[in-house]
């Protein structure tokens, strides 16, 4: 081994703790680089696999191709894989010219097609030849209804047309017969959710396009090429009807719109940069100390004739000696760490991913290239850290190095230290701190970086938690199933189902004056006007909940209310839902969104009944002269009158449809005509836009569907089965009435709310039996949200802990060396009579200097970053800012603890020294 390498190695062995700390820093740094890059690759792989699982593995599809065009395309060298889909015949389903008409398509796919498209089987298998048929589950009832048997293994004869209605046939078929009989064996069923295209293509009858096939009417080609080649391929294409999978291309960074890879690479780069900053800080500091201690030795080598290049090589040799154990170990730990973490979190990750992304899992993807990138980043960080110390080692002149007169860089103006009020030890500590300030800047930077990262992570997780909190289930039930009331019995009787209630709702509005509203509501309305500034004073929207009578009765009895009053079929009283809502819409003077909580009864106690109006625009009104689109809305007029506005819709400069300016509206004042009977005629009087006065004569009189409802108690605790939106929605006031008084037909349009006695069984049952029903599993959503919080916590805090470990290693390294290098000074101070207590005071003051300064810089910047990140993470800034008090306290305590522990531990080692031995020691 060369002499300087030997010199380097032996120097490292002489300071085992520092060398080990530096190796630890290299391991952590390499581990984190590998982990970050592996996670990025794994996440990207998840998205790619998810896309393939749900959309298919192709970039381009070209429709309505002739066989010649297909052939030409297949010869294109840029294409890596091509699947062909052949339209073979149409099967119109129509019963004797009556009833609904639908047309099915018989198609053939080649083997590549079946490979590339996300075809999921529910039963049976894929067709293996051109006489076998795969049917979509969606078609089975229809085919059976029209007399086509669909049982597995059975034969099916399909009378197919080659031309039908306006459906395309691009191929010149020549003199072939216009129809033919297709004889097939049904071999499998396709999942209804399989996404194969649009229109009738969504649910084709599929055979294998191989061997002798009927003439092809038109083809579709599914093309996979190199992502970069997609746009060239399209430009050079001679045919049209091309569809590009932009979303898939975005994953490869080749989309013309937003590219996902850019975002992912950016995020990975940011994380890597943070790791570089932390790692360089530690490793550079370690090298700096190492070079500083060996200044004299480097000078001696220079005196003996070592060139600058040789001295620099000695420093880089140290870097490589550290890299040899550190990088492979760190890279392995990084990859294994991610693999183990993802394995441990697999259940929670599957909750987060859900079924929407297809049959995929997030797993650690191993790629030699990625592992090499992680190792390379670590090596570059190491070399970067060694660069400056290497340069410094060669810039000192040999004589200065021997004399070691560069150790203390005194400022140009030397000021005598002002005596500290805490005594001489504190004054001395100030002097040491001032002189060594530049030398130990990296310690401060490490402390500040740790603080910033910790508070930033706290902001990130707080923000995400705020967003996820919104998904936490506050409903009183686990499932919500939209089924007719008549079909609820079977489900309710299952042993894994606990409580249940049937509810149906309707949306109406009421028009009341401010006197009928509660004071608390009026205050809320005034507060939010500043934020919302509604253009019009809206009417009060009502969501009426019609709750199953028995459930409502039980509730009323529990609240000591008379069921007869509320269940009276002729004049039932409505329960009014108390409002408890949180709004984040208002920003304070600093622009920080705060959370405001409002509790209020919607109406004043004096209001005992309401008229409920339906959103309806009479057909007798002729809104506008043109056929332009329009909409309508109700509002309250300045004089308290109810106004119907007919609003034209116009296209703005950006091409979006929006409401026309108010002066283009047509408005009608509504006046209820008193007939004394059960009818409710309402007159619509046109309002003059110039005067604001309504015409005396109505434009029309319409019989409106109005209902007068008596109001009962305002309740805070909602009955079982009533959604929390009755309380926390700012858009609707909730009223509760018995199901028996719901409008005719509504009783089958509601939802069954269920609580599970055995959630796992219930969940399994719902997935199997009601998979085609749009039911809501609130508990799963909540579990997914909680899982998301846990996963985010683990990854973000895990990342932060590792970075902080690097920073702590740096701080321990620097501060302990700082103390060790002053061994002679301490000996001298003790020899002239300084007590141990005074020495401890001096060290304590130094701790406060380092720690205090780090906190002085770190806390304000950290709080600022925390607020910004909370803003971004918490649903684009519409959720309230939460001050990170706990995180801040933890950060302050940790910083002081680290600094104090390090300095006092290092000093304790010197306590046992004989003063004269400390003075005599040759600091080489």
């Amino acid at each position: 081994m060369k002499i300087l390498s030997r010199f380097t190695l032996k120097s490292m062995r002489q300071n085992p703790i520092r060398s080990l700390l530096t190796v630890l820093g290299v391991i952590l740094s390499a581990a984190m680089f590998t982990a970050v890059v592996t996670m990025a690759l794994s996440f990207w792989t998840l998205l790619v696999e998810s896309h393939i699982s749900t959309e298919g593995d192709y970039f381009i599809s070209c429709d309505y191709l002739t066989q010649e065009e297909v052939s030409s395309l297949s010869r294109n060298r840029q294409i890596r894989k091509m699947g062909e889909y052949q339209a073979l015949g149409y099967l119109p389903l129509q019963e004797d010219g009556e009833g609904p008409l639908s047309t099915l398509l018989l198609a053939g796919g080649d083997r590549n097609y079946f490979d590339m498209l996300p075809i999921k089987l529910t039963e049976g298998r894929l067709p293996q030849n051109n006489r076998e048929l795969l049917l979509s589950e969606v078609l089975l009832p229809e085919l059976e209804a029209y007399g086509y048997p669909t049982s597995l293994g059975g034969s099916i004869s399909l009378p197919l047309l080659r031309q039908w209605d306006s459906y395309p046939t691009v191929q010149d078929l020549g003199a072939v017969a216009p129809s033919f009989l297709g004889e097939y064996t049904v071999v499998g069923y396709m999942d209804a959710d399989t996404n194969l295209g649009n229109g009738m293509d969504m649910y084709p009858m599929l055979t294998l396009a191989e061997g002798e096939m009927p003439p092809v009417l038109w083809s579709r080609a599914y093309v996979k090429c190199a992502p970069k080649a997609v746009w060239d391929l399209i430009q050079g294409a001679e045919f049209h009807n091309i569809e590009v999978k932009e979303a898939y291309l975005a994953l490869y960074g080749q989309s013309k719109y937003q590219n996902f890879t850019t975002i992912l690479l950016l995020l990975t780069a940011v994380l890597c940069l943070i790791i570089v900053v932390g790692s360089v800080s530690l490793i550079y500091n370690s090298f700096s100390i190492s070079m500083g201690e060996r200044t004299k030795q480097f000078g001696l080598l220079c005196c003996v004739g070592a060139t600058k290049k040789q001295l620099r090589s000695a420093v880089y040799a140290e870097a490589l000696f550290l890299a040899l154990p550190g990088i492979p170990l760190g890279t392995a730990c990084g990859y294994l760490g991610i693999r183990v973490t993802l394995w441990l979190l697999r259940h929670r990750l599957s909750l987060i991913i859900g079924d929407g992304m297809g049959d995929v899992t997030l797993r650690a993807v191993f790629s030699p290239a990625v592992v090499c990138i992680g190792a390379l980043l670590a090596l570059l960080t190491l070399l970067l850290s060694a660069a400056l110390p290497a340069k410094r080692a060669t810039s000192i002149s040999p004589l200065e190095a021997i004399r070691q007169n560069r150790d203390y860089r005194l400022p140009k103006k030397i000021k005598a230290p002002r005596p500290s009020p805490f005594g001489f030890p504190a004054t001395l500590a100030k002097s040491y701190y001032r002189i060594s300030r530049g030398k130990y800047r990296s310690t401060l930077i490490s402390l500040i970086v740790s603080l910033l990262l910790f508070l930033s992570a706290a902001g990130f997780t707080t923000g995400l938690r705020s967003t996820a909190d919104q998904a936490i289930n506050t409903q009183s039930y686990d499932f919500e199933c939209p089924i007719p009331y008549s079909q609820t019995q079977e489900l309710r009787e299952k042993d894994f189902i606990g409580a249940s209630a049937y509810v149906t709702t309707e949306y109406v509005f009421t028009h009341v004056q401010d006197e009928a509203r509660s004071e608390e509501f009026l205050k809320y309305r005034d507060d939010i006007k500043e934020a919302y500034e509604p253009a019009v004073d809206p009417v009060a929207d009502i969501q009426v909940f019609y709750l199953e009578d028995k459930i409502l009765e039980d509730y009323l009895l529990s609240k000591n209310l008379d069921p007869k009053e509320y269940l009276n079929p002729k004049d039932p009283k409505a329960l009014v839902c108390y409002k408890e809502l949180i709004t984040y819409a208002m920003a304070d003077e600093l622009g920080i969104y705060r959370r405001y909580t409002y509790h209020y009864p919607p109406f004043s106690q004096s209001l005992d009944s309401l008229t409920l109006w339906y959103y309806y625009c009479p057909s007798g009104l002729d809104p506008f002269a043109t056929d332009e689109p329009w909409t309508y809305g109700y509002e309250s007029g300045a004089k308290g009158e109810l106004i119907l506005s007919l609003i034209p819709l116009v296209e703005n400069d950006l091409g979006y449809i929006e409401e026309a300016p108010r002066k283009q509206w047509m408005q009608y004042e509504l006046r209820q005509e008193q007939t004394g009977g059960s009818s409710n005629p309402v007159a619509f009087h046109l309002i003059d836009p110039l005067t604001g006065e309504a015409e005396a004569e109505p434009s029309c009189v319409e019989e409106m569907n109005l209902r007068r409802i008596s109001l009962g108690e305002t309740v805070k605790d909602l009955p079982y089965g009533i959604s929390q939106s009755a309380k926390d929605s700012p858009y609707y006031i909730g009223l509760i009435l018995p199901l028996s008084v719901a409008p005719k037909g509504y009783e089958d349009l509601g939802t069954l709310c269920l609580s599970a006695a055995d959630y796992d069984k219930a969940s399994e049952y719902m997935k199997t039996e009601y998979k085609d029903m749009d039911y809501i599993d609130y508990r799963q959503e909540e579990e997914a949200a909680r899982a998301m919080i846990l996963v985010v916590d683990i990854f973000s805090y895990g990342f932060i802990v590792l970075i902080c470990l690097i920073c702590i290693a740096n701080i321990v390294n620097t501060l302990s060396t700082n103390v060790a290098l002053r061994r002679r000074d301490f000996g001298m101070l003790r020899s002239i009579g300084m007590t141990q207590k005074d020495l401890n005071l001096m060290l304590m003051y130094e701790c406060f200097s380092y720690g205090g300064k780090a906190l002085l810089w770190g806390i304000p910047i950290g709080l600022f970053l925390n607020a910004q990140i909370q803003n971004i993470a918490a649903d684009s800034g519409t959720l309230a800012y939460i001050f990170p008090l706990e995180a801040m306290i933890a950060a302050v305590i940790s910083v002081l603890l680290i600094v104090f522990t390090t300095i006092f531990y290092a000093a304790s080692k010197l306590r046992k020294d004989n003063p004269i031995e400390s003075i005599r020691q040759e600091c080489l």
Binding site: I3, Q14, Q297, V304, G305, A306, T307, I402
Partner: protein, 226 residues
Amino acid sequence: MELLRIEHLTKIYGKGDNEVRALDDVSFSVEKGQFLAIVGPSGSGKSTLLHILGGVDRPDSGKVFLNGRDVFAQKEDQLAIFRRRQVGLIYQFYNLIPVLNVRDNLTLPVLLDGRKVDEAHLQELIRTLGLEEREQHLPNQLSGGQQQRVSIGRALMNSPAVVLADEPTGNLDSRNSQEIMELLKLSNRRYGQTLIVITHDESIALQADRILTLEDGRIIRDEVIR
């Protein structure tokens, strides 16, 4: 034959009122094989002169010629090689590399040159220095005298043209001092090396061929003894 020629050497530290002329227009020459002692009170510029001659410090003005070659006309790397091959520096406080053993410290100049160590020469040097049983020892396992011997050995390893010793016996007792001086004189006589020694010790100075006395950065006396 003239080996070393110093012309108008000046070295100034500080500026303005704080200016100190460590060397003030010093000129002299040294013959090959001569043993020159440089004496003078503290702060007279002796060490400064020696460090400049050794190439570890640069003068503010003036020239140093070794074997007719201007030492400070060389680039940094060439100067390093000059220090390695042409001069051997010995310090009062030994200045050995603490992590290298005796053998490595001795052979440092050769190894830095990238050359193979001449074992025979090394062993002879070790024998001459009386370090036969200390070859694998680290500096902190040696006495002061032994450390200084290693320092001398390192200086002699490459058979330099001139050996420069700055108070080589300053940290040693009288017995070790005498032994060290004998070694230095041996190298001077046996190998014909030019030897320049800075010393406060009159008895050591009187062993030299010539005594140069410095005061306030100037040569005030140049006395040939033998």
